[in-house]
C-alpha cells in the first residue's frame, strides 16, 4: 500500500480517503464563500483589525529598529502592519543577492540599491504598471506620473515597465538645504580669512594652489604637526577623488568616467588633455612640496584623521565624504579649520560642480514575484507615501521630536537635535532602515516645510556657529554653503551617465579603466617633472590596451536610449 502511494498511484484506502476529503472540501466551500468575498473587499486594506505581516529585504547600512521602537508601534496600532526585516549591508550585498536569486524565494518587498539591477533582471520583481493603473494607489500613481519613463526598466531581460520606486530625489516643489554635498576643491576657511576673503569667482587651479602655497609658507606647522598643502583622495572606494577632477575642471558635470559633448556623444577623458593638464599641475605642486606624499597610501581612517587634526589645507572631495572630520573639528570649536567649496575651472569654461540632485532610478522598493500579498505590500508603500506618514517617518512625532510653530514651521530644540544624531536613540525612535528605501516626498511638503530636518532652512541657521556666520557675511552675505558653488542648471535629458546600466563586458572594461588609473596616476603625480611626459605616455598606452570602445559604445547606447525614451 505504502509503496503505491509513493509512486503516485492511489489504490484502495488511499483513494477512498482522497475522494472523501475532496467531497468534504467541495461541500464546505460554498459555505465559506460569503465570508471569502467579504474578506476580499477588506483583505487588501491595512487596518488594525486586519493584521498583516510584511517581510522586507533592505540593502542598507542603517540599523534595524529596536524592539521598543515607537514608530513600529504606530504602524501596528494604526495600520495593523508588522514588518519583518532582513537587513543586508552594502558590503555583503553581492554574495547575498547571488544566493537569494539562486534560491528563488523572496520576501514581500525588496529594497535594493543595486545598480547592476540583479534582482530586477533576475526576475524577482513584479511589474507594477497594471496595478498602479487600477487607481487603488493614488500616492504612488502621483509619485510616478511625470517621470514614469525614467523610472521604468527599458532593457531586454524582462518586460519593460515599472518595477522599482526610486527612493531619493523625486522632488516635490523646491529644493532647499544649506550644506553642500557635491564635489569641489575644498579649502580651509582660515586660508581664505588670512588672504583677506578674496573674490572666489573665476577660480583657476593656479589661483587655488597659490592660495594654499602662500598660507603654507606662513604657517608650516599646525598645532605642532606639519601643515599639509593638498591631499589627494585615493583611498579604497574613493579613487574618484583622484580621477574625477579633470571633468569638473573642463566644465562638465559629474558624468562618471566620460565627458558628454554638445552632440550628446560620450567619450572617456582619462587619456585626453583635460586630464593631462590637471595632473601636470599636480605633479608640479607635488614637487614644490605642496602635495602630501602620503596621499596614495592613506586609509580612509587616516584621511579623516588628517582632516580632523586640521593640518590639511585643501583637497578634492565630495561634501558628504568627510562629515566625520568636520564634526570632529566643530566639536573641538575649530571652525576655522573646516572647509569651504571652491570651483576652479580651465580658462573660458563655466563651472558646473553643483548639479541638480538626480533621482535614484532602479534603487528602492519593488514587490517580489513570490509574495503572497502583493496588493497589501503595494498598499503599504502607498500609505507610507502620504504626507502624514512621511512627516512621521522623516521628522518624527509632533511634540516629541519637533515643534510646530504658530506659523506652521517645524523646528527643534537642542535636545531634539542631539537625539537626532544619537545612533542608539534613533534605533528606538526612527525607522531608518525602512525609510532609506521608501519612496520619499523629497523637497517640500504642501505646508512649506522641508521634507527633512536636514533641509529645513531655519534649522540650518539656528545651529550655525558664530565663526561661520561671520565668514558668510564677509562673502557678501551668502546664506548657505551652497551659495558658494554654482547654481545648478537644468540637467541634460540623459543625465547622469554614471548610472547607465552597462553590459557585462562594458562593466569589466570600466573596472579595468579604473584600475589602470589607480595604478598609474600616483606614479605620474609623484614622479619627477622630467619624467612626466614619459609616465603619461605609459599611462595612455595602458589605457589603449583596454577595450575602451566597448565601454564608450555602451554608454552612448544608453544615452541614445534615454534621449529617446525619457
Amino acid at each position: 500500500m505504502k509503496r503505491d502511494l509513493r509512486l503516485g498511484v492511489l489504490r484502495g484506502t488511499g483513494r477512498r480517503l482522497t475522494v472523501a476529503a475532496t467531497a468534504m472540501a467541495l461541500i464546505a466551500l460554498p459555505a465559506c464563500s460569503p465570508d471569502n468575498s467579504a474578506d476580499k473587499n477588506n483583505s487588501d486594506t491595512l487596518s488594525p483589525s486586519n493584521p498583516t505581516t510584511l517581510s522586507v529585504w533592505i540593502t542598507t547600512a542603517q540599523q534595524a529598529p529596536a524592539p521598543d521602537n515607537k514608530i513600529t508601534k504606530l504602524l501596528k496600532d494604526k495600520l495593523g502592519v508588522t514588518i519583518k526585516y532582513e537587513i543586508v549591508t552594502p558590503d555583503n550585498e553581492d554574495q547575498k543577492i547571488g544566493v537569494t536569486l539562486a534560491g528563488g524565494q523572496y520576501p514581500d518587498l525588496i529594497g535594493t540599491g543595486d545598480l547592476k539591477q540583479r534582482f530586477l533582471e533576475g526576475g524577482a520583481l513584479l511589474r507594477l504598471d497594471d496595478m498602479l493603473k487600477t487607481g487603488a494607489y493614488p500616492n504612488l500613481a502621483a509619485h510616478v506620473k511625470d517621470d514614469i519613463k525614467k523610472m521604468s526598466y527599458s532593457g531586454d531581460q524582462v518586460d519593460k515597465g515599472l518595477y522599482i520606486f526610486p527612493n531619493y530625489n523625486r522632488f516635490y516643489g523646491d529644493v532647499t538645504g544649506g550644506v553642500y554635498y557635491g564635489p569641489a576643491f575644498w579649502i580651509q576657511k582660515r586660508v581664505l580669512a588670512d588672504a583677506g576673503y578674496p573674490d572666489l569667482s573665476n577660480m583657476t587651479l593656479d589661483r587655488y594652489f597659490q592660495l594654499i602655497a602662500d598660507y603654507k609658507a606662513k604657517h608650516p606647522q599646525t598645532d605642532g604637526a606639519p601643515t599639509v598643502g593638498f591631499e589627494v583622495l585615493a583611498s579604497k572606494g574613493r579613487e574618484w577623488g583622484m580621477t574625477n577632477p579633470p571633468a569638473l575642471l573642463a566644465g562638465s558635470p559629474n558624468n562618471g568616467g566620460v565627458i558628454v559633448d554638445s552632440n550628446n556623444h560620450a567619450s572617456i577623458y582619462a587619456d585626453k588633455d583635460v586630464a593631462k593638464n590637471f595632473y601636470n599641475v599636480l605633479n608640479k605642486e607635488y614637487n614644490a612640496g605642496l602635495v602630501d606624499p602620503e596621499s596614495f597610501t592613506l586609509t580612509q581612517d587616516q584621511y579623516n584623521a588628517k582632516l580632523a587634526t586640521g593640518t590639511v589645507l585643501g583637497m578634492h572631495d565630495q561634501g558628504w565624504d568627510f562629515g566625520t572630520a568636520t564634526q570632529s573639528l566643530q566639536s573641538a570649536h575649530k571652525d576655522e579649520y573646516t572647509y569651504v567649496p571652491l570651483m576652479p575651472v580651465y580658462p573660458g569654461v563655466k563651472p558646473w560642480y553643483q548639479d541638480r540632485a538626480v533621482m535614484n532610478i532602479n534603487q528602492g522598493f519593488g514587490v517580489s514575484v513570490s509574495s503572497k500579498q502583493p496588493k497589501k505590500a503595494l498598499k503599504f508603500l502607498d500609505t507610507m507615501l502620504s504626507e502624514e506618514w512621511q512627516k512621521t517617518l522623516s521628522w518624527g512625532v509632533a511634540g516629541e521630536d519637533y515643534q510646530v510653530g504658530a506659523d506652521g514651521v517645524f523646528s527643534r530644540t537642542d535636545q531634539q537635535r542631539k537625539n537626532y544624531k544619537d545612533v542608539t536613540w534613533r534605533a528606538s525612535n526612527r525607522l531608518d532602515a525602512l525609510l532609506d528605501m521608501l519612496p520619499k516626498h523629497n523637497g517640500k511638503f504642501s505646508d512649506g516645510n522641508a521634507y527633512s530636518p536636514d533641509d529645513q532652512p531655519a534649522e540650518f541657521y539656528a545651529t550655525l556657529s558664530d565663526y561661520d556666520k561671520n565668514f558668510m557675511a564677509k562673502y557678501g552675505n551668502k546664506k548657505t554653503w551652497t551659495d558658494f558653488v554654482n547654481k545648478a542648471p537644468q540637467n541634460p535629458k540623459y543625465y547622469p551617465a554614471w548610472n547607465i546600466k552597462l553590459s557585462d563586458d562594458a562593466n569589466q572594461v570600466n573596472q579595468q579603466l579604473t584600475d589602470t588609473s589607480v595604478q598609474n596616476l600616483p606614479k605620474i603625480i609623484a614622479g619627477k617633472p622630467a619624467d612626466f611626459d614619459k609616465n603619461w605616455q605609459a599611462y595612455v598606452d595602458a589605457i589603449h590596451k583596454v577595450d575602451v570602445k566597448v565601454y564608450e559604445d555602451a554608454v552612448n547606447a544608453g544615452i541614445k536610449d534615454r534621449l529617446a525614451n525619457w
Partner: protein, 317 residues
C-alpha cells in the same frame, strides 16, 4: 600514572638545561638575560596594538577621529561601549554565538576524533583512500551558490542546524588528531584489546583520555573559528533575528555607524548641539574588544592541558 609523577620532576629538571647542581654559568646568565629581554620586547610589541585598541575604545568618539592615541585614552568616555551594549540585539546574539560555538566544538571533537581514531589504525583496510578523500577537501570549494542550494534543499535555511551540521569534520583537525593517535604506543591499544574492549570502547575509554592536549588544541581552533565566523549567518540565517550571531550584529552596527558619519554632516550647520555619540573608528575598537575578549579567555583555561599530561614518553621509559 605513577610513572608520570616520577617523570614530571625529572622533566622539569632536565628541561631546565642546567645541571642538577643548579650552578649558573656565565653562558646561562647571558643567554637567559638576552632571551628574556627579547621575549619581553616581543610581547610588548604584540600587546601594544591591543592596548591601543582598548584605549581608543575608551576614548570619546569625536576626539578619537584625530588619531594619535597611545595606550591611554585622551578623552575618557564609555559612550562607545554604551552604544554597543544598548544595541537591542546584542544579548540574544551573544547567547546564540556561545551556543553555536559550544555545539560546534562538541560535535566537532566527537566526530573528528572518532574518525581520526579509525584512520589511525594501521590495519584498517580503507584507511588510505578515506584519508585521501578527506585531505582533498582542504583544497577545493564548490562555491557560494551550490553550497547555499544544498543547505536550502536540506531544509536548513534559517535554522540552527545550518550552524553546525555543515562543519562537523575539518580535514585539518582530522590530520592533527590522527597523527597524534598514530603516535600512541601500540602497547596501550594491545592491552585494551586483550582486556576485551572493542574499537568503540578502545577509542572512548583508552585513547581519548590520552588525547586531552590535542583535543584541547583542536577544540581551541574550532572554538575560535566558530566564534569569529559570520558568513554562515549572512548566507543562511539572515532572515531570522533570533539566530543572529554576535559577529554579524557587530558588523552591522559598524556599518550603520559609518553611515551615520556621512549623514550627520547634514542636519545642522555646526555641531553646536553635540557631535555624534560615536564615530566609526572608536566604535570599531569597542566592537573588537567586545568580540575578542570572551574568546581570549578560553586559552588560559585550556593551557593547563597542554603543559601536563604530555609525558607519554615516561610510560615507555
Amino acid at each position: 600514572m605513577s610513572s608520570t609523577t616520577v617523570a614530571k620532576p625529572l622533566a622539569r629538571r632536565a628541561s631546565r638545561g642546567g645541571s642538577p647542581r643548579r650552578k649558573w654559568t656565565v653562558e646561562q646568565i647571558v643567554f637567559t638575560t638576552l632571551n628574556t629581554t627579547f621575549l619581553v620586547t616581543l610581547a610588548a610589541l604584540m600587546i601594544y596594538p591591543l592596548l591601543n585598541t582598548l584605549a581608543i575604545s575608551l576614548n570619546d568618539g569625536m576626539d578619537a577621529v584625530r588619531g594619535g592615541i597611545g595606550i591611554w585614552p585622551r578623552a575618557f568616555s564609555l559612550q562607545n561601549y554604551n552604544v554597543v551594549f544598548n544595541m537591542s540585539t546584542i544579548y540574544q546574539a551573544f547567547f546564540m554565538s556561545v551556543l553555536k560555538t559550544v555545539v560546534v566544538v562538541v560535535t566537532n571533537l566527537f566526530f573528528t576524533s572518532m574518525l581520526a581514531y579509525a584512520l589511525s589504525r594501521k590495519e584498517f583496510i580503507f584507511r588510505r583512500p578515506i584519508t585521501l578523500i578527506f585531505v582533498l577537501t582542504m583544497y577545493f570549494d564548490a562555491g557560494l551558490i551550490p553550497n547555499y542550494l544544498l543547505i536550502k534543499d536540506l531544509g536548513m535555511l534559517n535554522s540552527f542546524q545550518a550552524y553546525w551540521v555543515p562543519t562537523i569534520i575539518s580535514a585539518f583537525n582530522l590530520i592533527i588528531l590522527r597523527t597524534y593517535m598514530k603516535s600512541l604506543p601500540d602497547e596501550i591499544i594491545e592491552s585494551a584489546r586483550i582486556d576485551g574492549a572493542g574499537e568503540f570502547r578502545t577509542w572512548w575509554q583508552v585513547v581519548m583520555p590520552l588525547c586531552k592536549p590535542t583535543l584541547a588544541v583542536v577544540g581551541l581552533f574550532v572554538a575560535v573559528g566558530s566564534w569569529n565566523s559570520w558568513l554562515d549567518t549572512l548566507l543562511y540565517n539572515s532572515s531570522d533575528p533570533a539566530l543572529s550571531t554576535l559577529q554579524y550584529e557587530l558588523q552591522k552596527l559598524l556599518a550603520s555607524s559609518m553611515n551615520a558619519g556621512m549623514n550627520s554632516v547634514a542636519a545642522t550647520g555646526s555641531a553646536a548641539s553635540g557631535g555624534q555619540v560615536t564615530t566609526p573608528i572608536a566604535l570599531r575598537s569597542a566592537i573588537t574588544m567586545v568580540a575578542a575578549v570572551p574568546i581570549l579567555f578560553v586559552y588560559p583555561f585550556l593551557q593547563k592541558h597542554f603543559v601536563s599530561g604530555l609525558t607519554i614518553g615516561s610510560v615507555k621509559g
